[in-house]
Symmetry: C2
DNA sequence: ACCTGAACACCGTTCAAGT
DNA sequence: ACCTGAACACCGTTCAAGT
């Protein structure tokens, strides 16, 4: 019955604390700096001591994804129309991605039917169902916005992660390197404009009047 | 001077043939079935024999990405308006992704400033600059469409890859498993509708009249 | 000149042996 | 009862030694 082995020595160890340390390790050393041995060393412990708390590395990565998703602000925005609500959620996702550019690919790579996305989907549903759109409509909108955000931020963070981890060998000491010629922009403005294009197009194609000003003025 | 060592024995080996075999191996065994040793075995050779042709595994993965990008149809569509042109490119990307669901994440994970995207970006530029839109406009549109496609298809393929590789241990022999409850849909219709939302929104926000019917009737 | 096996420095994970 | 080092089966990659 006791599913959790509850070991007694390392009191600072737990699924949560290990996942937190893993995220910090990724943030500082990059994804392939996350090693069971490295992570254990960071916690003052041997790799084998992690296994009572975490079944394997994949589960640990799921835990990290859950940590990242929990940083997205999905609280209700009272009195805010669905358009601005969708925009602000998108911006919150971007803030999370830019706080953790080396870890964001984990979010994008984790299959949607894995458990970290279950709670997240429920939080999204709770927010969007309070926003005045019929369910089949906000589901289609949320799906498109999610695809756009995931793709845009993955592309942006991969460029950041690639140029910020020289892996200690090829440090070309030129300040303006040959990198950003490929037209990778990643500005908040461009990202937000894409979201607004989706919202505008959604309203035009799927709603009656197609109005999209977002001053909803809800009394209660 | 002789940068290419030009070995003489294994005549069937070359950068291209190795990359092709790597893609086939990923398609059948999944991404983590691709191993220098596995790949060599598939080619009737030892792992060390690959290194004269490919400097390391990362370069090999870039070569695979180039192979995948080359499958995208970016030929000109004479007499087709920019809207339908953008849609058909998006559908071609989806066909590539669905042909290689286990390999698509490589495309999404490869930083945009790596070389496989240079030629691809030039092909995109060649197509879109022939379509009647000013450069700053089609660049913004292409960027948003790329983000959407990448995100949507990554999410879709990760679910496919996750459920099609039971890794030989957890084969729950229930036909209708607990999987697809998370609302992962991945239909061609939903994907295409997202593209059209972006196009409609782009036209409404960035063009004069905002017309978007796509019958361009170009004479030459 | 070309190829090869052994070897290096790592992985994730397990488990018998210690205390 | 808890922890540990050694060990297993792998990686990517190198290189001295063979032919």
């Amino acid at each position: 019955m006791s599913r959790t082995p509850t070991p007694r020595r390392h009191h600072h160890l737990s699924r949560e604390s290990i996942a937190q340390a893993a995220l910090e390790l990724i943030d500082s050393d990059g994804l392939h700096g996350l090693t069971m041995r490295n992570l254990a060393a960071r916690l003052g412990v041997r790799a084998t001591n992690l296994y009572p708390y975490v079944p394997d590395k994949d589960s640990l990565l799921c835990e990290v994804v859950a940590l990242l998703l929990s940083e997205v602000d999905l609280s209700e925005r009272p009195g805010v129309g669905w358009e601005e609500c969708a925009v602000s959620v998108g911006l919150s996702v971007r803030e999370m991605a830019m706080r953790h550019p080396q870890a964001f690919s984990l979010v994008a790579l984790t299959p949607y039917d894995e458990w970290p996305f279950r709670e997240h989907s429920q939080r999204v549903a709770r927010l969007f169902s309070s926003v005045g759109l019929p369910e089949h409509q906000w589901r289609e909108l949320a799906s498109a916005l999610d695809a756009y955000s995931t793709g845009y931020l993955l592309i942006a963070t991969q460029v950041i992660a690639n140029s910020s981890s020289p892996t200690e060998d090829d440090i070309d000491r030129e300040p303006g390197s040959t990198k950003r010629a490929a037209g990778v922009t990643n500005t908040l403005g461009e990202y937000e404009e894409g979201i607004r294009m989706l919202i505008t197009g959604f309203a035009a194609r799927h709603m009656a009047g197609g109005e999209s000003d977002g001053s909803r003025r809800t009394g209660g």
